[in-house]
């Protein structure tokens, strides 16, 4: 395995049971279905796709918050899916999560200081003084003042709360941060502040980001590599350039063409998809995208296309792409 791979995801499957446990015929929502990719050290990997396609689930499964039905998540050479409790707890220090909703991700009954102290408590690291120093440092780093420490989350603005969330993720010096739509709940003018902050922190602390978003402009701005998901499947992955400037999969094409453009002179033709995203509980046969695909062929509804490397480092799952 290459040295610079931080996380390797192999054939990961995460299914949810859709009915209650008393039911006789169980149904599954295949939120993540056979997904493989890797994260390189220090990069920002963007994960895009429509709502419900399994982005968050994938992120959380990688973190070990869900027990996957199949597959491996190899973090620094160790498969965390099979880890025992104690080892897992240690592992958690290396991976953190930043959430979409800054209000929901902070316990409303704790002060910011309590919230930032929590990771130290859980892992029993550092003395009181050390903790305090670290917290102060982080607060400064994310652009908050010390007097914020005694506040409660509801006394802060969305952007500030998101900064607290980021600071909490950084307390234990993680290597990987999974950012689950970290800016989509923020106002446009605040979005830019947070994105810049994330970029600065990455350099400073040598972080690897898995950046989940449905805003393709933001992903374009921040990510080195991108994966496009559709109904639990990864349909295309590649570098920034591969995905945005050499798009192969019809779904990815449509997605990118759908981004509204702020330049009134550069308006381009848009690829419109038919219909809605099918339910993940009942996905279409063959290629899951075939019901909406503008380039659909007979084969598509029968055989499921596999992820193929069409250019070096650029993988696509589509029958129409050679």
């Amino acid at each position: 395995m290459e040295d610079n791979v931080l996380v390797q995801v192999q054939n990961l499957k995460m299914y949810f049971q859709s009915e209650s446990s008393f039911s006789f015929n169980k149904k599954y929502i295949k939120a993540v279905d056979d997904v493989s990719f890797e994260l390189f050290k220090g990069e920002t990997f963007g994960l895009v796709g429509e709502s419900g396609c399994g982005k968050s689930t994938l992120g959380r499964t990688i973190l070990g918050l869900y027990k996957p039905n199949a597959g491996k998540v190899i973090f620094e050479g160790e498969d965390i899916v099979s880890l025992k409790n104690n080892r897992m707890k240690d592992m958690r220090k290396k991976m953190q999560l930043i959430f979409q909703d800054p209000s929901a991700s902070l316990n409303p009954r704790k002060t910011i200081e309590d919230i930032l102290n929590e990771p130290f408590h859980i892992h029993k690291v550092g003395s009181k003084v050390e903790r305090k120093a670290k917290i102060k440092e982080l607060m400064n780093r994310v652009g908050l003042s010390e007097y914020h420490l005694s506040r409660y989350p509801h006394e802060m603005s969305g952007g500030q709360k998101q900064r607290v969330g980021i600071a909490r993720a950084l307390t234990l010096n993680p290597k990987l941060i999974i950012c689950d739509e970290p800016v989509s709940a923020l106002d446009v003018s605040i979005q830019a502040q947070v994105i810049n902050l994330l970029e600065d922190l990455q350099k400073e602390y040598d972080l690897t980001y898995l950046f989940i978003s449905h805003n393709l402009s933001v992903v374009h701005h921040i990510c080195n590599r991108v994966g496009v998901m559709y109904l639990g499947k990864l349909v295309e992955t590649g570098s920034h350039a591969d995905i945005y400037h050499n798009t192969q999969h019809p779904y990815a094409k449509a997605l990118i063409s759908a981004i509204p453009n702020t330049d009134p002179d550069q308006q381009k033709e848009r690829i419109l998809l038919k219909g809605d995203v099918p339910s993940p509980a009942n996905p279409p046969s063959g290629c899951r995208f075939h019901t909406r695909c503008p380039e659909v062929t007979d084969l598509c509804s029968q055989a499921e296309p596999l992820l193929k490397e069409v250019f070096p480092g650029h993988f696509v799952a589509c029958h129409g792409v050679e």
Partner: protein
């Protein structure tokens, strides 16, 4: 907050006034009762209300007014005890069911539903008949009837809070179940349960008086309002014997319900639905 609500809400103000009044009465009752609530005077039994006996006298010549005042203590204590007992049990039960979820939750909730389906008053009567009526047994029976409500609310709060991202955050930090439950979920879930408890206070007093009306409360000569109404039914034509303790129950229940009702209006809608 209290004053602000009071300013705009007539009924709430009444509730606060009535309840404070009863609490004060309960605290100082022995000091302000004109007679001992036990003093019998067979020569003056069944006296109609007069300047001597404001609420008249009962079948053994005791002063109804003094007994009504003293009765406030028992009603308040009974209401409080039931609510505390039931909410404590319900909270733990519902919390566990909600947190563990899955089959455990399903089974635990079916059990609590069973208790809810069970005719509470019959259960209470059976328990009281079997163990003998006493304040303790009656409170026990009431708590047994009452806890599933709290379990239900607690469970749904825990389930809702379990989904919160800050819980996920704690999990991703490696917090233990114990820590997650007690540090993250519980503090955010007890609020509504406590609110429900306050709202329920009046109902608990009502149920208690109903049971003591049926003779399932503490033994005489304890001045229990429900039992006094029962005495009034026995001595039907001396209307004052039953009327005044009944009014006492009514005012106390109305007071707490006015407060509860208004508080409910001030709650956020998500909460209101639960209660």
């Amino acid at each position: 907050m209290l004053l602000r609500i009071m300013k705009n809400n007539f009924l709430f103000s009444i509730g606060i006034i009535v309840c404070s009044l009863w609490i004060v009465i309960a605290l100082v009752a022995p000091l302000i009762t004109p007679y001992s609530y036990l003093a019998q005077d067979l020569a003056h039994r069944f006296q109609a209300p007069s300047s001597l006996h404001w609420f008249g006298t009962d079948s053994i010549g005791r002063d109804v007014f003094s007994r009504v005042l003293m009765g406030s203590r028992i009603s308040l204590i009974a209401g409080l005890a039931t609510i505390i007992l039931a909410s404590f049990v319900g909270m733990i039960y519902g919390g566990i069911a909600g947190y563990i979820g899955g089959l455990t939750d399903e089974i635990m909730m079916r059990i609590s539903e069973m208790v809810m389906a069970f005719p509470g008053i019959i259960l209470a009567m059976t328990i009281a008949a079997a163990l003998g009526p006493s304040l303790y047994n009656t409170l026990l029976a009431m708590a047994i009837i009452w806890w599933p409500n709290y379990a239900r609310v607690m469970r749904s709060m825990v389930i809702a809070n379990k989904e919160n991202e800050y819980v996920e955050a704690a999990k991703s930090l490696g917090a233990s179940h114990f820590r997650i439950f007690f540090n993250e979920i519980l503090p955010n879930s007890v609020g509504p349960v406590l609110v429900l408890a306050t709202l329920d206070f009046g109902n608990a007093i009502l149920l208690f008086s109903g049971l003591s009306f049926l003779g399932l409360g503490s033994p005489p000569p304890t001045p229990e309002w429900g039992a006094m109404v029962a005495d009034g039914v026995l001595n039907f034509n001396y209307w004052w014997i039953g009327t005044f303790p009944g009014l006492a129950i009514l005012t106390m229940a109305v007071g707490t319900n006015f407060i509860g009702d208004s508080l409910r209006d001030f709650l956020d809608p998500r909460l209101r639905k639960e209660l």
